[in-house]
Amino acid sequence: MVDGWDVLILVIKALAIFIIVPVAPLVFVLAERKILGRIQSRIGPNRVGPWGLLQTLADGIKLGAKEDFIPPAGDRVVFWLAPLFMVVPAAMAWAVIPIGPEVEIGRKIGLWVTDLNVAILYILALGSVAVYGPVMAGWSSNSKYALFGSLRSTAQVISYEITMGVAVLGVLVYTGSFSLVDIVEKQKDMWFAIPQVIGLFVFLVSGIAETNRAPFDLPEAETEIVAGYHVEYSGMRFAMFFLAEYANMFLVSALAVILFFGGWHGWTIPGIEGLTSVLWFMLKTLALMFVYFWLRATLPRLRYDQLMAFCWKFLLPLGIVNLLITAVLRLGWS
């Protein structure tokens, strides 16, 4: 039965997400800038706060203080709504992400907000909702560059959603459950990264593409279409796009960890298994985040047609092949 404690715990979990989703990007932005700086033989932010730690905070304050400009010829309502469509799905997805096992603090508490039995579908659904952000932003800005960005983004996200789904299917064949907690639990002995190495590749590439990051950052491509769909955004609204991008990266990384890298599993220290599990989870996620930054520092961006061709002609067949192999293997096993 639901009692007061349950409600309280739920509220605490929800609050945690509300805190993590905006704060994590702040850390990631700083981390990215620092890492890019080092990779580029420079220091990165070093002025605001000790070692530049408060840089993103300062940027956030700056963005908050900026003029909130709405293009006069644009569509005010849609322009206003678009950033919400970016941020809200990114935050909502965290409801089903398990960051650790069930721990015993007086009572059994799962380190997740809710364990949906259709969690994967839920996340995919939210992913498809997130398309609306760029679409609405690009259209309502009434700018050609923004429109280009949103067109690219839409096509890209829709396309890579499919490959991502196909990649996830491979995992689902193993687990037979949509529940992320189940999926993690099933990796207790072996990470799915090993049998599903092709799936992992497809998933990671799709995930990077879904989050519009280098080398698939065409929707934003500063040097081609200036900044893509959020070219007309400024101030807090721009900050929301920015936030959503990093929140999505974080989400994809977490999802990849959950699906392929065994979630919170790892060598645990007895007594504080819960904490070490969470640490493992975070460590794995951050490692994937680093890959994001690393790629960004290195790779040139693909062209639009190459991106599409890559998705449909390479990634999707690869994913399907992976699914077939997996299915055959599973059938053979059972």
């Binding site: 890492i35 700086g37 080092r38 990779i39 580029q40 033989s41 420079r42 220091i43 070093n46 690393w294 790629l295 520092a297 290195t298 790779l299």
Partner: protein
């Protein structure tokens, strides 16, 4: 070699560069040392004897300047010698080409290594010979020190 090796070696190279020491100079705490010939602001030599500017007002710098930076107004002293009434240097127009320094026949204009020359006020940039002599004597001191933080 298969597809992707180039990408991977690039990634590894980038990572290895990441472990090198950054080449950043922490300006302004430890600014980059400037070369001996560094062409900073044009300075004016102070005459050792009179303590005044050593410009004789010949106007060659005015002529040599491609940008109308310098304006010299001269007049006659009671003794009949040339007196530089005003030596005006519009730093906002200066392109640091140093033709004026080369043109000066009495070595009154000199290169300094002063490069702390910014101000938010354009009118400040119209300098006098006093400013220029100050920059020659103390080029590391910011020109508009009152605006200089840290």
């Amino acid at each position: 070699m298969g597809f992707g090796t180039g990408i991977i070696s690039g990634l590894i190279r980038v990572l290895s560069i990441g472990f090198r020491k950054p080449i950043t100079y922490m300006y302004p705490e430890s600014p980059r040392p400037v070369a001996e010939r560094f062409r900073g602001m044009v300075g004016m030599r102070r005459d050792e004897v009179t303590g005044q500017l050593s410009c004789v007002g010949c106007g060659l710098c005015e002529t040599a300047c491609p940008n109308d930076v310098i304006r010299i107004d001269t007049s006659e002293t009671d003794e009949g010698t040339r007196w530089v009434e005003r030596y005006q240097f519009d730093l906002g127009r200066c392109i640091f080409c140093y033709l004026c320094v080369e043109a000066c026949p009495v070595d009154a204009l000199q290169m300094t290594r002063a490069y702390h020359l910014s101000t938010p006020n354009r009118a400040d940039l119209i300098l006098t010979a006093d400013d220029m002599m100050r920059m020659t004597e103390n080029p590391d001191q910011p020109l508009f020190e009152h605006l200089w933080r840290d």
